[in-house]
Symmetry: C2
Subunit: 216 residues, 2 copies
């Protein structure tokens, strides 16, 4: 899986640089019996893709990364604020039953529970709700605050985080949704986390479709 | 959002080609007062990234796509068979209750229902099960076959489909899981779809993390 299909000559150059780097373009040319001008496009591609690094007056050296650096760079440049969706929130007094209804009407996998100022206090997933529903409890009587995950156990992202960081958190913590929060310091020394969006696996899947557009 | 940050000179070349293409490298060089050799790395990058196309004896022309083509190409090359997970399957006689238990023990969002030969006959999502659980039904008595989505309403992919096609189907059909199937013609003229894997939004999110590795 590489972003660029390297030509045989480019692969040869990478091998030479791996073995002998740092090495100048002229020296690579000598080994391959080619002029520096002929090699210039290859070297440009290999450095732009991040496979090789070039240092003035030193030469080319192998930077140990794969050919995916261009793709990685593209993904690393997309920020949470560029792709986040609106958060679907309920208040903590909401019953489990009403939360489930909201989950269906809004068609989301996870609800975010906020206080009266829009501050984050909890999250509840489809899985949490299914567990309650199947447990024979009266969903109409249990408030969502009894079953939600609370701070500090909620994994969040900020609008400035990259989509790579967000995707990684979804995978590492095995969750479906990340509340996007902005943190404010309160006069009493505490912090308030205002919920300004959500990132879900659907967000990530949509992004991959967008990145893949134009190819198929 | 571009995969490559173009230099000023590269942007100028794109503008020239947009306006006057098809145009040869020599002609571009004349306009910019640069030799063709000097331009070669720029032209190589612009064609490799898919921004410009080059045709022998015709010249360069603008192909109307964004600088994301390298990323699109990388995504378009990954096949379902390269990233699919094992399917989590149950038989159609399974009760809704047992299906929910399987969903929790296997920690998946969707169950695939198969016949005795491993042929696809249905899918059931966490959402479908939550609807039954909250509806006050006796989950221990209802077989999963009564609540599952059946063929021909199941959206599938084949091992040879690209991950771009899979992601697009997840988004377009608003589903969380795609069974990966191999189709066999039966002697009676029907087809059997053997379930060989699954693609979920988790698969896609993991892939994005993998593609983004090395940047952060």
């Amino acid at each position: 899986m590489t972003a660029i299909e390297l030509t045989d000559r480019q692969i040869k150059i990478v091998e030479i640089v791996k073995e002998r780097g740092p090495i100048t373009g002229e020296q690579i040319g000598e080994i391959l019996n080619l002029t520096r001008a002929t090699l210039r496009p290859d070297l440009a591609i290999l450095t732009m893709s991040g496979i090789l690094e070039a240092r003035p007056r030193v030469g080319y050296y192998y930077n140990g990364q794969s050919g995916n650096t261009l793709v990685a760079r593209a993904i690393g440049k997309i920020r949470v604020k560029d792709v986040k969706s609106l958060p679907v929130v309920v208040r903590e007094a909401t019953t489990v039953y009403d939360a489930i209804v909201t989950l269906f009407t809004e068609d989301v996998g996870t609800l975010i529970i906020v206080d009266n100022e829009g501050g984050l206090i909890g999250v509840v997933s489809r899985k949490d709700l299914l567990k309650i529903a199947i447990g024979g409890n009266d969903a109409q009587k249990i408030p969502i605050s009894m079953v939600m995950t609370r701070m500090p156990n909620i994994v969040t992202v900020t609008p400035e985080d990259t989509i790579y960081q967000a995707a990684k958190r979804l995978i590492v913590h095995e969750i479906d949704t990340l509340p996007v929060v902005r943190t404010f310091a309160l006069p009493n020394g505490h912090e308030r986390q205002e919920v300004v969006g959500r990132i879900t696996k659907t967000t990530i899947t949509k992004l991959l479709v967008e990145l893949g557009e134009g190819h198929n």
